[in-house]
Symmetry: C2
Subunit: 319 residues, 2 copies
Amino acid sequence: MKIVVINRLLKDSHKEQIRKAAAGAGGSVLFVETEEDIPSDWDDCEVIYGFGMGNAAKNKDLKWLSVPSAGVDYLMKPGVFANEDCLVTNSSGAYGVTIAEHIIAVTLMMMRKLDYSYGESLKGNWSSPQPQKSLKDCRILVLGTGDIGCCFARRARAFEPGSITGVSRSGKCSDPSFDLVRTVSELDLLLPFADLLVMSLPDTPETRDILNRERIGLLPAGAYVVNVGRGSAIDEDALYESLVSGKLGGAALDVFKNEPLPSDSRLWKTPNLIITPHVAGNLTLEHTLNVNVDMFCKNLINYSKGLPLNNLIDRNKGY
Amino acid sequence: MKIVVINRLLKDSHKEQIRKAAAGAGGSVLFVETEEDIPSDWDDCEVIYGFGMGNAAKNKDLKWLSVPSAGVDYLMKPGVFANEDCLVTNSSGAYGVTIAEHIIAVTLMMMRKLDYSYGESLKGNWSSPQPQKSLKDCRILVLGTGDIGCCFARRARAFEPGSITGVSRSGKCSDPSFDLVRTVSELDLLLPFADLLVMSLPDTPETRDILNRERIGLLPAGAYVVNVGRGSAIDEDALYESLVSGKLGGAALDVFKNEPLPSDSRLWKTPNLIITPHVAGNLTLEHTLNVNVDMFCKNLINYSKGLPLNNLIDRNKGY
């Protein structure tokens, strides 16, 4: 079994861990920094751990693509896989900690006007105090109660919020950090009470433009919106207008309909909008990389034994 | 009993609350936005709630100055009080929530390089991912286990840190969020294990330059320093050099030896230093203002009944 691992951030310890798992699975492993570095005699590999879409498009022997990302929308298009039966797993579960920290960070930056005072400090200005808001007593609505939503809720709970409500497909979540969990069908009833709306949704037909103009209108005046899922979930024009008009208190977007965000996008200069370049969850945080590698190694053993894979994607549903 | 309240941020509801407390205490109350607005027939007031140092310096009838700040160092100098027996209370206890949120915000900004990516976004740049650190598994050392230190520790606990150690005068703190509390005499033993050092100390002879060059040298490489207490606690030159050399991972200063920070200070352009203009705790957050007014009203009843005042400052000790 030929296993190709594509990742420029792996340390020697990670490689050693993967080599051991591969040996246990009866496979041999090749490490490359980018897909372009795969030698031709590995083009027929059976397993790829990494972003190996170039190989997947032509390699009919590829049986399992394990991607280190949580989102898999980019794999759900026609033509991605030469082998239509290729298994796909994502790395959902590796990003909860890092993305939760991102959400807390940008939320507090907005609420405390640190975007303003830090921006002024870059110009050498000792700025005057601004009106502030707080997570204390804040009514929080979390769209998506997966690993990310739960990790965020657990941290947010310590800030003594007014409430934390989750919205999920099932309307259920076992994490006790949520006061309440409801289904998407009740979203419109919940939005008017969301001082902070956190969105951590995958890109699926159901989530596209889920925060449309009408729903932005349902949010209370001064509400904050944070999106760490996929940019497709928000009507960016409506969001832009609600920020320019002052209806929203602020928004923090890590994901966009078009990435990188085009240099001529009007979003760059939108008041009270914090833009980050899709860095809420990435492997530059050692903890995230460690968990990611752990998950692959465990799944590799499952794969070799014919056991069900964790984080297997249903390519019809897209998650 | 003439009571003067100096505060431009009070809402009508706050004024009503204070009026009721004053009536209960047998006093009449005057609200002014600044000290300059006090009419001459109120110059002999008995109580001031606010920054009334101009009156205090000349009013021999002033018996109680209640300041809305937690720090009182500026009151400990000669000549501040015409009445040497004037009681002084601070508003310690009103700032824990807001300053804890500030500490979490700037810590995550540093650890996640949001200072960099947000700074780049202001220039319209979609920047590349940077190495990140996390509060998860972070060893946190908190100098000062008062209201601020405890509020911070409670929030930090939710981020699954490696440890939270407190340092206080007594070596004791009843808040279970600390794994360990030690006295200042053990500080040098603790610093080598502090990935994050949080300083929330008042300005007293004991705390001046407590983080000196030698102690900065004891911190592990890549450590972060956050100061929300008083600028006097840090040797700013040594901190500057440890940031320029790359010894420290970053620092976030909300307080400085000289405030406002002079426009020609080299601190403004120091790498990995987040400067905020003494805004970690201020009354622009409604919760802080509410608690502050509550505390004064309760103390006013105590004062009228001859009961001990809460938050009474020992002017010899300075806290």
